[in-house]
């Protein structure tokens, strides 16, 4: 089923690309496309179960989303240029919302970016402390999870402590030790 859906999505994308190519007046770029399956899932998430979406409505929503991203992005890049910066940051987008009439987006997006940065900062601590070879290892951003091998290693290093104390306070110390030990081995 998933495969079929994906194939259907790809076919839709191809059809739209062809349509966009044939229509020279189209404002959006040829390679600027969003997957229709994800878009429909996002739409149905906010609507009640009995609601249905027509094909034309899906296409129109997709084009509006692409236009919106380009419109807001142009405004944000102009703000960054005005401040003589070559890097566009979320603050530029937040500033452009007021100019473009999207005041309702400022509060939720501000909360989102703060939460995201806090999350990144926590993850960043784990990544920055170990040496570069450790950073190269693929760690899941979901949270501090340890494999069985790591747990056995930690237990072998600190066998004297109890399980409660071990789980309560030693993970950080263990983490650091793990990093250092790994470095020494390398």
């Amino acid at each position: 089923m998933a495969g079929n859906k994906k194939r259907g999505g790809r076919n839709m994308d191809q059809v739209k690309k062809a349509a966009v190519r044939s229509d020279g007046v189209g404002g959006s770029a040829t390679n600027a496309e969003l997957p229709m399956a994800n878009l429909v899932r996002l739409i149905k998430k906010v609507l009640p179960g009995k609601a249905k979406i027509g094909g034309a409505a899906k296409g129109l929503t997709h084009d509006c989303a692409v236009e919106f991203v380009g419109f807001v992005g142009d405004e944000a890049s102009e703000k960054a240029k005005a401040e003589h910066r070559r890097t566009v940051a979320p603050e530029d987008y937040l500033g452009s919302f007021g100019d473009l009439g999207f005041d309702r987006y400022v509060d939720p997006m501000d909360a989102y970016i703060h939460g995201y940065r806090e999350f990144e900062r926590a993850g960043g601590n784990r990544r920055v402390a170990p040496p570069p070879p450790a950073a190269a290892t693929p760690l899941t951003p979901g949270g501090p999870t340890f494999t069985d091998a790591e747990l056995q290693f930690l237990r072998s290093v600190i066998p004297s402590r109890s399980d409660d104390e071990y789980s309560g306070s030693s993970p950080a110390i263990g983490g650091y030790g793990y990093g250092y030990g790994y470095g020494k081995n390398m």
């Binding site: 189209g26 969003l34 996002l42 609601a51 409505a57 129109l60 509006c64 919106f68 991203v69 890097t87």
Partner: protein
């Protein structure tokens, strides 16, 4: 989500004639709830949010627009979340429009209506036009309907202005004193025909005076004819008397005219004694005086009044002669 939909359905059933203001109110209500839930979800997730849209695709959408600019590490994630919120907001607005038409299927017309209704979505007009170019005629109908609505609003706006003008005219105080001048104008118009009537009356009086003058002339003519008859009868007597009679006739003619003025009684009595008096009195003196009197009459009427007074004196003298003759 089920609860507001039920409420919306009930509202639709209650309001048979769904107005644009109610649609906007429902949209506002739905948006308030949407933003509140979004805020709660974002705060609850604490940054550990799963994105439905792939970040790589969003990067591709952003990058062609900003060739010369670079993106910070957290911008693609930020824009992905932004795009998700936009799609959900647009879809929810379109869902409210579909409900206003009592439909459970969202069509392109509903999305076009949502775009037309929201001010911040004006930049999406290009997208609608491109879709029209591709061949979808539904947005055309929707936009035409919106234009009609705007035209109706404009016409409704014009009517109150006309009513205001009418009320202003009705309540304008200076209009009230304007009427009395009109009345005065009427009176002035009435005066002018009165003057015309006065002029007419004056003309009638003049005509009457002329008619009186004519009557006087007629009387004088009759008297002169009678005098001629008398003279001819007297002339038949003798040759020497004929010459005298002729002179007497000439003299009697103006005399009769003079006598005609005073009164008819004098006229009846005067011819016989005048004939006798003229036969006895010296004709030369009388002729000279009468000629002078005639000349005066010819020159002016004012002199005629003096002649009348002279005639009255002459009449009195003649009466004295009669008394002397009788004695």
């Amino acid at each position: 989500m089920a609860i507001p939909t039920k409420e919306e359905v009930e509202q639709n059933e209650e309001d048979n004639t769904f107005s644009r203001l109610q649609l906007l109110a429902q949209q506002r209500h739905a948006m308030e709830e949407f933003w509140r839930r979004s805020q709660e979800q974002i705060e609850a997730s604490a940054g550990n949010h799963e994105h439905i849209l792939p970040i790589d695709c969003v990067k591709n959408v952003i990058r062609p627009k900003n060739d010369a600019m670079m993106l910070s590490a957290d911008t693609p994630t930020f824009v992905t979340k932004l795009c998700e919120l936009f799609v959900q907001e647009l879809t929810l607005r379109a869902w409210v429009c579909a409900n206003s038409h009592n439909r459970d299927i969202i069509l392109g017309t509903d999305i076009a209506e949502a775009i037309t209704t929201t001010e911040s979505y004006h930049f999406l007009g290009n997208v609608l036009r491109s879709h029209k170019a591709l061949g979808s005629t539904a947005p055309d109908i929707d936009t035409s309907a919106r234009k009609h609505i705007k035209l109706d609003q404009m016409t409704s706006l014009y009517h109150p202005t006309q009513e205001m003008q009418a009320s202003r005219l009705a309540g304008y105080p200076p209009h009230v004193p304007i009427y009395p001048p009109i009345g005065q104008m009427g009176t002035q118009h009435k005066l002018s025909p009165f003057t015309f009537m006065m002029q007419g009356e004056s003309l009638l009086n003049m005509k009457r005076e002329k008619s009186l003058v004519n009557e006087v002339m007629v009387c004088t003519n009759k008297m002169s004819i009678n005098n001629f008859d008398g003279a001819t009868s007297i002339g038949g007597g003798s040759s020497s008397d004929v010459a005298i009679v002729v002179q007497q006739g000439e003299t009697t003619h103006p005399f009769s005219s003079q006598n005609a003025c005073p009164s008819l009684e004098d006229n009846y009595v005067v011819p016989m004694p005048t004939g006798h008096v003229q036969s006895f009195s010296p004709p030369t003196n009388i002729n000279v005086k009468k000629l002078h009197q005639e000349e005066k009459n010819i020159y002016s009427q004012d002199v005629a009044e003096e002649d009348m007074s002279n005639e009255s004196l002459e009449g009195s003298q003649k009466d004295e002669d009669l008394f002397l003759h009788e004695k």
